[in-house]
């Protein structure tokens, strides 16, 4: 996933996923209203690749595999979605999905295996340029399609109306994750083709909600699908998404009862809510599956010098960052976040193992020593080219940038911060030899170490444009470990391979590993069954309102 676009969360709140969850039984009716700073970008599941779009598409579309409702921070379990079952051949190459019977699209037509074939084949249409092609790229014959040589995906066939068979080029333990992504959504061919350019604005799926109205840049309304196949229509009548609200205003709107839930809060609003007697108890803090830090371009001076990178990584005061963000950051040495295989904690490592991670902790003495060994430092003075740090202009990025700037200044390394717009940032960091050091966030596409390590640190992920590997780090041994892990089926062996790869990366320090974030959620007291979700951010599918009303009025009542 594009870094930063997502701020996914998973709940670690074991009792009721809703704060204040009462013992009332679900009731039908009501409107759930939520807001974002951005509008939904698209409702075409082959195209959408941002948090806001994903949350909305989760209402309209289903995938063959779904994340289990009891998914929490320590384990993300996958269950059948549109597929009632699936099995994988011994060699891990052939995946067979058995579709659930009686599933219908919003237009009333029953779902068949050909729909799956159409939907996944569509990802490889060169004209569409779907980001999903990367995740389904293991299917045999996909490259030929992307190259425009054929319009038929060899590795994907409908055996009968309810059976889909996929053949992969190599075993891939993460294929199930890909299927569960929004790119795996099943869409009806006749509607896609009939709507043409309008498809992205007027989707038809199998999900519990249908799009009713979309005023671009303003609001989007989803209504319950009365004839929903199973388990029947959702509790809520309506879900309204409002676009373009700054965070501060979102919080005011929640307090005034105009919103049902918010999940982005500025530091002061968070502190305000925490000490507020009404909102304090309703505040949910859930660890996100993400990692933040600084990418250091291994091809550009001064970061082409290993000692310099290690010195910089050890200069950064992670505890200070945690304090600056009101304790919401969890300092880390591990690029793979907690809950995933290959995640490591300093205290749980043996002294030998700790050695590789020693630069990924704040250690001024070690930093000083490594910096002094760098060819860019002479007699404690920095003698390399001017360093420009690329940051974004949001609160989190500015805080991190200025904090790191201070830390480096204390270590004798001067640096200027340059803030820029998100697309300009993406274009620049994705270009070789352009950006020396940049604020970096990696939020998962799916919860697996592969998505954290291979995508960002593999030699193959370097590119002349839009490079995912923004440090341009490339190491033969790391590459060998990543390649071996990608096709490994045994979970333990696989975890070990990723762990070893991560240790090499931590020591080579193409990235300063800093912290995992925590996301917040504030829900109106009468909203029940709402879940903060690791993939969908917000999951309203099974939410209901205690007292059904047209819309949440000044409701929580207690103002």
């Amino acid at each position: 996933m594009s870094p930063l676009l997502l701020l996914l969360a998973c709940t670690a709140n074991p009792d009721g996923l809703t704060p204040g969850a009462g013992n009332t039984a679900p009731v039908y009716g009501g409107t759930f209203v939520y807001a974002d700073e951005d509008d939904i970008r698209t409702l075409d599941p082959a195209i959408g690749y941002d948090e806001v779009s994903w949350t909305a598409m989760h209402l309209v579309f289903d995938q063959l595999i779904a994340y289990a409702p009891d998914t929490d921070g320590t384990e993300v379990r996958m269950v059948g979605g549109l597929a009632e079952s699936w099995d994988v051949s011994e060699d891990g190459l052939v995946w067979t999905f058995r579709l659930r019977p009686g599933v219908t699209f919003h237009n009333g037509r029953e779902l068949v295996a050909d729909d799956v074939v159409y939907s996944w084949t569509r990802l490889f249409d060169p004209e569409l340029a779907s980001p999903g092609a990367d995740f389904f790229g293991g299917i045999s014959g996909s490259q030929a399609m992307l190259d425009g040589e054929t319009d038929h995906l060899a590795g994907l066939v409908a055996l009968d109306t309810r059976t889909v068979q996929v053949t992969l080029d190599a075993p891939d333990a993460t294929f199930a994750n890909a299927v569960a992504m929004v790119f795996g959504s099943v869409v009806p061919r006749e509607e896609v083709e009939a709507r043409g350019e309008q498809w992205a604005f007027s989707p038809v799926g199998t999900g519990p909600f249908e799009l009713s109205e979309w005023q671009l840049g303003e609001k989007t309304v989803f209504v319950a699908d009365e004839d929903h196949w199973e388990p029947g229509r959702p509790y809520l009548d309506e879900i309204v998404h409002l676009a373009g609200y700054p965070r501060t205003v979102q919080f005011l709107k929640l307090e005034a009862g105009e919103l049902s839930q918010i999940n982005r809060m500025s530091s002061p609003d968070y502190l305000w809510a925490r000490q507020d007697e009404r909102w304090g108890p309703l505040l949910q803090e859930v660890p996100s599956i993400d990692t933040y830090g600084e990418m250091m371009n291994t091809e550009l001076p001064p970061f082409d010098d290993l000692a310099f990178r290690q010195g910089v990584a050890a200069s950064i005061d992670r505890e200070k960052l945690k304090k600056l963000r009101n304790g919401r950051y969890r300092p880390t040495i591990s690029w793979v976040p907690p809950g995933l295989a290959a995640h490591v904690e300093w205290d749980e490592l043996s002294a030998d193992e700790q050695h590789a991670y020693r630069y990924q902790r704040h250690d001024p003495a070690l930093a000083k020593q490594r910096l002094s060994e760098s060819r860019y430092m002479q007699d404690g003075r920095y003698v390399g080219p001017p360093i420009v740090y690329w940051a974004l202009s949001d609160e989190a990025s500015l805080t991190t940038a200025q904090s790191v700037q201070q830390d480096l200044s204390l270590a004798g390394v001067p640096m200027t911060v340059k803030t820029t717009t998100f697309p300009a940032y993406l274009a620049a960091v994705g270009q070789p030899k352009t950006v020396q050091i940049a604020y970096t966030a990696w939020v998962m596409d799916y919860p697996d170490p592969r998505n954290f390590l291979e995508v960002i640190f593999s030699c193959d992920m370097r590119a002349e444009q839009n490079s995912q590997n923004t440090s341009f780090y490339c190491d033969d041994e790391t590459e060998r470990l990543l390649d071996a892990a990608a096709v490994e089926v045994d979970p333990d062996v696989r975890a070990d391979l990723y762990e070893r790869a991560q240790a090499r990366i931590a020591e080579a320090a193409p990235v300063a590993i800093e912290y995992h974030s925590t996301s917040l959620s504030l829900v109106q007291p009468r909203v029940k069954g709402f879940r903060v979700h690791p993939i969908w951010t917000r999951d309203m599918r099974e939410a209901w309102l205690d007292v059904p009303e047209g819309r949440p009025t000044r409701a929580g009542g207690a103002r």
Binding site: L271, L324, T416
Partner: protein, 262 residues
């Protein structure tokens, strides 16, 4: 006014703290929130644990630099073009006013935003964009004023006496347009400081950790409930500075306008 200028000059020496230094030990409370006024930090700290007083003092220089330099550029251009085109009319006037028309036909702030975004956020670009785009109002108002003045009897009389253009323009007309020029300039400095803060608010201003007052307001505004001082302090600075410029303008106006003795 003088004291503001003095602060701008001496600010960096007066500042008790380095304005970029994060005082994590005493500058933030246990929850990571900024602390209020106290012995270590006279005006408290900002969200990053930095001394507000020091940032204000150093920020005076940045904000005044932006305000003065950009306004200076734009007012200089505007005054000359306005005078010349209003007085001589003809082709000069046509060309000048069409240029003004074109520039003014762009929405100013939108154009600033677009330009700064296309170039790069930074002090130099902010200055340049605000300065080079801001002169049109002045040119128009001065020209309008000159147009009216040149029809006045005293100018007709001066011309009948055979006085040179330069003399008429600068000795006779200029003093009569000084009033609006002063008012506009003082407001210009203020609005430039504000424009810089808007660019900062939209994430396109002076890059951190440079403490311009505008940037301080935009950084502090989210704290309006918990630490209103983070907005109030730089806001007050801007207010006082703007007030100073306005009083200065008014005073000059009374002195310079020959017919406005009452």
């Amino acid at each position: 006014m003088a004291s503001v200028a003095l602060v701008a000059l001496l600010g960096p020496f007066l500042a008790p703290w380095d304005p970029a230094v994060q005082d994590i030990a005493t500058g933030l409370d246990a929850s990571g929130a900024p602390v209020g006024p106290g012995a270590a930090h006279l005006l408290g700290t900002d969200a990053l644990g930095r001394d507000v007083l020091s940032r204000l003092l150093v920020g005076a220089r940045i904000s005044l630099l932006v305000g003065f330099a950009a306004t200076g550029i734009s007012m200089g251009i505007g005054l000359v073009i306005g005078l010349v085109s209003g007085y001589f009319r003809g082709i000069i006037d046509t060309v000048a006013m069409r240029s003004v028309d074109v520039l003014m036909s762009f929405p100013f702030l939108l154009l600033c935003i677009a330009l700064v975004a296309v170039r790069e956020p930074g002090l130099d670009n902010v200055l340049l964009v605000l300065g080079l785009l801001g002169w049109t109002t002045m040119a128009r108002v001065v020209r309008g004023k000159v147009l009216a003045e040149r029809e006045q009897e005293y100018v007709q009389a001066a011309r009948a006496l055979g006085l040179g253009h330069g003399r008429i323009l600068f000795r006779h007309i200029l003093p009569n347009v000084v009033g609006p020029v002063m008012v506009l300039s003082t407001l210009g400095v203020a609005s430039t400081i504000l424009a810089e803060s808007v660019l900062s608010y939209l994430g396109l201003g002076v890059p951190p950790p440079t403490p311009s007052w505008g940037a301080m307001i935009s950084e502090g505004q989210a704290w309006y409930r918990l630490a209103p001082g983070l907005v109030a302090a730089p806001g007050l600075c801007i207010l006082v500075t703007v007030l100073g410029f306005n009083l200065l303008g008014e005073g000059l106006r009374d002195v310079l306008d020959p017919r406005d003795a009452g």
